[in-house]
């Protein structure tokens, strides 16, 4: 049973997820596909009434047969994961491996940044195009894809949700500022006027925590904002419905002059 933990902490868990974890013979958890800064393993163990084994990326991706799948052949095994299960490819991969060895699987949904970030911004979710992630780069890996996805979505007048990379092993979590700098650097080489200092963007941080922050402003201003609680997310809005403009103003402090209503 894949159980989605939702956003931020153990309070994002659903009643169904809690029930299934309590009934399971064994509970595993992975916390590397997303960051949940409010999650305490100890409190989760108290909620579930049993101990929880934490799996590393290696345990889960290279060698699941040795632990979780072997146990799941005879027992009911739950795997708790950040957000909504199956959004991360690694969960789909594990589910396929389970199927191949005759283990039945079930999915308990969790809340997800895919609907929570658009919802927090006040932008309408059906007006979003393709989503993209800004990755941590190396001297030989600096993809232009995130920039191009914003450009292609804007050509169709669609908003863009941009996830920011996490590297759990190195405890690196990309901030709004780092994401914006990456896009501004791509702008320098691509030069198609997609992400400039006066482009409207929305930074979203700490969803599911008691101190979420949603701030809409020009890119140049957002670079100076400390967004606080991780993980961070970015949105580049396209043309706005008047209610979207009103929501960005009311709940994200957007300056009037940046709001382009269709």
């Amino acid at each position: 049973v894949f159980i989605g933990l939702g956003l931020h902490g153990e309070h994002g868990l659903t009643l169904e997820g809690l029930e299934q974890a309590r009934q399971a013979d064994m509970v595993y958890i992975e916390t590397y596909t997303n960051l949940m800064p409010g999650l305490s393993l100890k409190r989760l163990e108290e909620l579930f009434g049993k101990s929880i084994s934490e799996l590393s990326r290696e345990d889960l991706e290279d060698n699941p047969d040795k632990s979780i799948l072997e146990n799941a052949k005879g027992l009911t095994v739950a795997l708790a994961v950040p957000g909504d299960p199956m959004v991360a490819t690694t969960h789909v991969d594990l589910r396929l491996r389970a199927k191949k060895v005759g283990i039945e699987t079930d999915v308990v949904n969790g809340t997800s940044i895919y609907s929570a970030a658009p919802a927090a911004s006040g932008l309408q979710i059906y007006k979003f195009g393709k989503t993209v992630t800004i990755p941590y780069t190396s001297p030989i890996y600096k993809p232009v894809t995130p920039y191009n996805v914003i450009r292609e979505n804007q050509a169709r007048n669609l908003h863009t949700l941009i996830l920011l990379d996490i590297d759990a092993e190195k405890k690196r979590y990309m901030t709004v500022r780092e994401g914006l700098r990456y896009l501004l650097e791509t702008e320098k080489s691509s030069n198609e006027n997609v992400v400039m200092l006066d482009t409207l963007a929305v930074g979203v941080a700490g969803l599911g925590s008691s101190t979420p922050l949603v701030k809409a402003d020009r890119v140049g201003r957002l670079l100076d904002v400390d967004f606080g609680v991780l993980p961070h997310t970015l949105i580049f809005p396209a043309g706005l419905h008047f209610m979207e403009a009103e929501a960005l103003r009311a709940f994200a402090g957007a300056p009037e002059k940046l709001l382009r209503v269709d």
Copy 2:
């Protein structure tokens, strides 16, 4: 406080949502923006430890000042809603009205079809383009938009999530079959080879229930499938990653010959 109830029944509620509803002075619910066939108002009242007032579309959209907003001036008022709050425009509208009269608002996320349907299909969520809803039509309202959105997404090799209309007042909830028929009819007039009898599609039904169904097949075959528990959702896949193809085969029974791997 807007509280997302998630999918299907009260077990989709998060621990945070439960806590906030218990602490609220008054709890309202609206059940017309989506269908939750497994939800019992009585069980929800037992969970919350208080009575819940149900609001109609009119109560919420035409006249919220008389009830919910008036009470929220002095009390902590919770509004429980299907899915994830703010995904429906009517919630954004109410939140804006509250802000205008000086009432602070908070949002507790719920699970959403926007991540749950892609997750259930095994298709990767970042490869989805714009989402669209097939509406109930009238002799003078038969939009081509749903068909065009599939076509535009496919031109960018992106999957399409298609929500199916609900009309809670008339208790009409569009089925996979009705949605497909609508698209086939549009195909007849538009004639761009987007939705044909041998096009691959995925029907998704009953997510969050104990009997969900995910079935991938050619449109002509899906017309004959009884998808059972409402609400229903449709997905039109674009080109597939090999793991997506494997997932469609393993978990949605897709016939091998329909799977086009990029």
